[in-house]
Symmetry: C3
């Protein structure tokens, strides 16, 4: 498959008389795609019912005539002011009970029926008008669901919706109308929290002390389901009018809704890769790492999301917004090292991206993102990004094919588990995302390519090693599938620690088929009190006491079992640091017959079916097995067949 | 008196058919007491007026038949949902003006008359039904007043109540209806804050800058009085139906209401001892101390509370909830070192506890405290705590008598002073509790046993040294009683610094009988700018300039008087660090003829009438005067008669 | 002109029978001025319409008879409770939407018309009664506008006022009613934020993510204008009844409203100098500097404000509240070093203050400021401040004349730029005030006296060096005036970076006449990643990429242009640290023919027309060019004519 480039463009921001030259320059730079429309509701429908399609018709025509393919976004992330006036209660409400006002974007509550109807209407009009347009080659629903903490809303609509959702969840229980089943499943007897009716149940914010974790987790599941339903409503309408593939554009490091479930309704997953913004704001790396990679981004963070969205898109995925220069939203907003825009682009392709689009074409001189770089400066001069994009375009022309291949290592990622950890971290700073990412980093340090798998995976054929750390609730059939799959399997800590409603199961966790290991006690540790392992490395943060007859394969210096194994299944009872995970995972790879190599700091590789890509995230040149790697450099080496 | 053990049990959490075996296992473990009922309102009265006593009748019977004595709690800490529906405005309101919602516990405002009436009703029903039950050997009102910051509520009911309370406070003043007396006492002229009527007065939250400290302190006093009244209402009802002693179960490090005043209405004071949770969350120790004692708890924090609640209970006190393993609520939740559950238990007895009850019997697999360890695991297997409890039970059987005795050193503790410091710390991080605890720690380091005294103490006979640091308002008769008591007396800093309404008195503080010392100026210091003393140690945080003709007994290196003395009364003008307090208090002990010894780090002693108990809070063995002390070990040595 | 001393007095706080002795002691201490009345509304008008002038008549008479001149304050900073009852919606509302309650001070919203009418009424009554009083020699409007974050209010009145103000701003645009001009100027198309009417526009708080910076900046300008209008209303009334000069008393480090615009309506600017409180709370200095100067204050912070308020008062300015000892409001409140009250007083005079008044006469034993020192203790004994004040009074008697002179260096200060930076810092911790103050500090380290100029300055005659760093919007006529003025001119970083509505101008900044420099890219840096300069020093925080044909005068070690110059105009593209600014500004002074000297750490000088004043902020003696300077010492040396 040929890999392509693109950009994000806002014709409504610029005089119509420069659209043609913009389009020409895009094409000349080697771009294929141009995404438009996703924030343009106020220009499409300036007043209620008064549709103004002319400019959009013209913009699509101009872009199409220049040879570009259009990705058309539905404008539902930015409802206009008049819509708020019509539905004043459509605003999301924050966890402190404050409505989140008009004046930026994403100012809506996913639970609000009135707003959903408005979205159906506008998407219907859009899809009908452009569904057969030859230049519209793909669709995008809304934009960046969940960004700015917008998945969880504590509005009246959400309260009503949550009650309804719970009633539905528990209706099949046979106990009166289900409320007793809910009381039992949540353990509401605990503090006299029993409900007589689903209408008794409020949202779990502003409670005197923490709410019941079952309550909190249920609300997170409900909130995620609203995103899925909101998206599906748009997809159904677009599909009725168009054969072009439909995508949503996800934001990195957002886990408040289940991307797999949203993705199941779509053909393509796209995501927004802002390596420098993420490193300052979301990776959670040490200050040392932040300093070292301040102008490059974290060496594993983009790759992790590439692999995640390849799974979300079931193979079809893009980078829809690639950072082109300094952004405006992180605590500090440095410039990328020369070469990094190219490196990031190639890394996406190496992980299987169909397209990489730079955000945005021209830096806007006004409004919230005026300090966000583009491919062009506000004065239309070339910015550094377009120069590196042209280089990538040229390289793509020479060697367009990148053929993805299944990896030998699979890492499961379960949004539900992330919510469960968020509801109950038990130790400050502990998160599921952090735990999974630590495992991913260890795999990458060992030179491995990784597939990320959704939690509903049951067929693990082709994998020699499967990791499922921290997956709080693990259904019985998944346990069985893992036990039977033939691969080496690593679970724990906290895998299978809760039942479907967040209660501790009895028999105690993990209750894994064929593995006599029981977590008899759990403790969390101060960051400055790690527990040393005999074999090197330490446990930090989270530590379980294990008992059972399985073989002990890792021990603390004091002799406590820390990892235990029977056959191919290994249970790890603590959160290992880098050294501990290197040892544990290296050992599992050896058992699985997977060759590993310790890569130089900041160097990463990714294998496709025919090639090995080398990436140097360092600000200095490095010599690797494949030869000299310049700073911010990329090597593309054919694999022996 | 024989010391006993017990546990906290929630029959409503478990199937009735395991109650009997639970009861048997409790008895076999050597437990005497079982506390039940304190969160069970929704099961006692599932719908308004529909009382369901059967299960509770049965539970008490089963437990009693097993030989256990029941402590029966009133369920008022967890009003059921239907009660909230009846009284939607009964929720407490936080200082930001947000109602604190249903969904956890303690969701009520102490000022709400409607809720108080409901409490009287349910307590009346409970007391009537079980007042003569032979197995109900003690009562507990509510649970952990003030926990989760629930003493201060900024509700409409609180506003009305506060106005009424103020009117009452100032009604005897003779100036019209008293509002002029209030204006004068508070100095409301200061910023045109004069009130024309008590109905003008609002609660002191959300003011533009800080409220008048007199206003803020009055509100804290009002709030404390509401807790006292709320508790008294229950006590009066129970007492009308039962001869069993009545207790309340206090939470450690809660100072928002006056425990002495609540305790005055009760026979027994009980408190909740969570040494590891406290060390992470509430002691305020340095990171170094937190690391050193992460699995043991702070060596003085439990002892301080033991001595405090011995005073609150006028000699009769228990530990009602003893930490049995990791808890769920601190930033980090480690496991106790083996032996610590036993050590904590014996330390309580050495300080005079009648009973130590472990919280809780079996770890709940559901709801907010599912990560809180119990004596049993969720699967009913023995957890480590029950094994240590059995050991203590065996040791108690061999030597049951522990005979408390009055100490030679008394330390005054005044909740009102804690509020005054909280209202006006004058330097970041300064608190009355911290100051008193620093003095307590110094006494303990010197190997002393200490009695804590309430602020209404006037008879100091039997004491050779009395300390009253930081007691902001000191009534004239207390000053006189201290001046006349014959013991060495240590006051300051900030002792007697305010009048009854939080104004600076003229003549200036401390205006202590027979002591010519005047605090002429006060400053607070950056933590990184301590002031060195000639005799060693430093002053940190709080420093007064002293003048007068009294003898200077401590000086700064620059020659300023820091402590001054006439006869037996010493005034200390700064907050000394450990070295400074060791010197000052060691000197006072020498003057008082009290023998001291410098204990090894982490080792503490406590004397009873006949024995000296040695406790090793270290994770390593130590050799002390009494012989080798194992890690987490206890020695019990007969004193020479 | 003769320099004078004074104090702030609250006769309403004290029994009338001590007023005369207070007045006598003031006069004996050498004081000339006594400010009264500014918080006394509740005593002037205890109930609505019931005026009680007697006490104030008497107080003015007593003070005047003692030979003191009265500064009479309007009492509008502290409206009484009954006024709030009349206008419950007059409270300011914070950015979280919470009304800011009665109970301290400044509890009003500048936008509230009803309150403004009440202020006109009381000021009219006051001015009429005392406008011709021979003892009332000056007036003060309100007190400390903006203190306690009171400029920005998110009330309903503010929302209405803001809409009205915007309508007025954009009404002359010719596009329908102006709303389209606003949409275009703000770039509201960006996220479909277009408004159909000015009544659509809300205040820019509680938006989902950040509001449009144009929106946010407009609101700040509106809020500032309300302060100006509020003040002007009082001035107009006073002026109708009195010939005495009118002042407002500003608080240090408050930039939320435009002091120049308020000052334009007044004869005198006064400010409140709390060197120790500021150092702990507002300077933003490193912990090392905070330690070194904890008892002296920052060596440049007072001087900066002196120079600023000399500009605000167009030459006539006072210190109305001089810190006399420990205060009550900083995180830590230490005592000044002996001598500092005298040093601070003389430093004010050296910078041209007409008067220095100590706050306050006697420490109040009650209410919010009971821990704020005075010239007298609460028991009326001398506090240390009065002793130093007497010394200054004696010195003034010997050498009363201090003759200000125009400096050779001018530094522009633009409140509007401070708001623009606050709206869009782009890097955490970056502020306009900080940038300007860093330049001021560099000038002071070089031994220079500085004039601060308002942004509407166009005549720079007499100056040899003019600095205008960070002035985000620079009108074209100012650019031209600077380009033509003949002085060396330093601009950047971020000078002229935005148009009048906060958009990036095209051609790109700075677009300065005669200077071919373009800021092609902007990045912000982690504090731990400074960029080194070839000539020494580093860039921290903010860094621009420059291009153009101008001469490069500063380069990074990597060779990037960091400062560029054509003729007398130098553009600096980054935020230099002390070493970088010393080099850059030292070089500019050399070019301008201004002699500089590197002063010893903590020593500062200020030149008048005839003298050089030396100030030693160190706690140790220093030897300087002019001879030995004791700790906290002042030298006054005649300049050669």
């Amino acid at each position: 498959m040929q890999r392509t480039l693109g950009t994000c463009y806002y014709p409504e921001h610029w005089p119509a008389d420069i659209w043609a030259s913009d389009a020409r320059r895009m094409a000349e730079a080697g771009l294929t795609w141009v995404r438009i429309g996703e924030f343009a509701w106020s220009r499409i429908e300036p007043t209620p019912g008064n549709l103004n399609w002319d400019w959009l018709d013209q913009a699509i025509e101009v872009l199409g005539q220049a040879g570009l393919k259009v990705v058309l976004g539905t404008p539902t992330a930015t409802p206009p002011k008049w819509l708020l006036d019509k539905h004043p209660d459509m605003l999301a409400v924050d966890d402190q009970g404050r409505p989140r006002k008009f004046g930026s974007r994403r100012h809506y509550c996913f639970s609000h029926g009135g707003y959903l109807a408005e979205c159906r209407r506008i998407v219907g009009l859009l899809a009908k008008r452009y569904g057969q347009n030859p230049h519209v080659a793909a669709w995008q629903t809304d934009n960046e669901y969940g960004c700015h903490d917008t998945t969880l809303s504590y509005s009246g609509a959400a309260r009503q919706g949550f009650r309804h959702w719970l009633r539905h969840q528990f209706s099949g229980s046979g106990q009166n109308d289900g409320i007793e089943a809910l009381n039992a499943a949540w353990g509401n007897v605990f503090w006299s929290m029993d409900y007589a009716s689903f209408d008794d149940i409020d949202l779990p914010n502003l409670t005197v002390t923490e709410p019941n974790p079952s309550h909190a987790l249920a609300f997170r599941r409900y909130a995620s389901d609203q995103v899925v339903a909101f998206n599906r409503a748009q997809v159904e309408i677009i599909r009725a009018h168009s054969k072009a593939p439909i995508s949503h554009n996800y934001m990195g490091r957002i886990t408040d809704f289940d991307h797999f479930k949203v993705g199941a309704d779509l053909e393509i997953a796209t995501w927004d890769s802002y390596p420098l913004g993420f490193l300052e704001d979301r990776v959670g790396a040490s200050a040392e790492v932040q300093r070292k990679y301040a102008n490059q981004g974290h060496p594993d963070f983009q790759a992790f999301h590439h692999d995640l969205y390849r799974a979300v898109g079931r193979g079809r995925w893009w980078v829809m917004e690639q950072q082109p220069g300094p952004v405006n939203w992180a605590p500090y907003n440095p410039s990328p090292l020369p070469g990094m825009v190219r490196l990031w682009s190639w890394e996406a392709f190496a992980h299987g991206a169909e397209a990489v689009c730079y955000f945005r074409w021209r830096q806007a001189p006004f409004a919230q993102e005026q300090m966000h770089a583009g491919m062009l400066r506000p004065d239309s001069a070339d910015a550094p990004a377009i120069i590196e994009a042209r280089q990538v375009a040229g390289e793509l022309k020479q060697a367009p094919e990148v053929q993805p291949v299944q990896a030998r290592v699979a890492l499961m990622f379960d949004y539900d588990a992330d919510w469960a950890w968020a509801v109950q971290p038990q130790g400050a700073g502990l998160s599921y995302f952090g735990l999974v990412f630590d495992h991913y980093r260890a795999l990458r340090r060992l030179g491995l390519s990784v597939d990320i798998l959704p939690p509903d995976s049951r067929d693990f054929s082709g994998y020699d090693l499967v990791l499922a750390p921290g997956m709080m609730h693990m259904p019985q059939d998944l346990k069985q599938a893992l036990a039977d799959c033939g691969a080496e399997v690593l679970i724990g800590p906290r895998t299978a620690a809760r039942d479907a409603n967040m209660a501790i199961p009895v028999p105690l966790p993990p209750a894994f088929p064929g593995l006599d290991v029981t977590v008899s006690r759990v403790e969390t540790l101060r960051p400055d009190l790690p527990v040393a392992l005999k074999s090197g490395g330490v446990i930090t943060g989270y530590l379980e006491e294990l008992e059972g007859s399985a073989e002990v394969v890792l021990q603390t210096e004091a002799g406590a079992a820390m990892a235990m194994r029977t056959g191919p299944v290994t249970y790890m009872g603590g959160w290992g640091d880098d050294a501990a995970l290197d040892g544990l995972i290296g050992d599992l790879c050896a058992r699985a017959g997977i060759a590993t190599q310790a890569l130089p700091e900041g160097v990463r590789i990714r294998d496709t079916a025919t090639e090995r890509f080398w990436f140097n995230y360092n600000a200095e040149p490095v010599t690797c097995e494949a030869g000299p790697l310049p700073a911010a450099g990329v090597l593309r080496v054919a694999l022996p067949l």
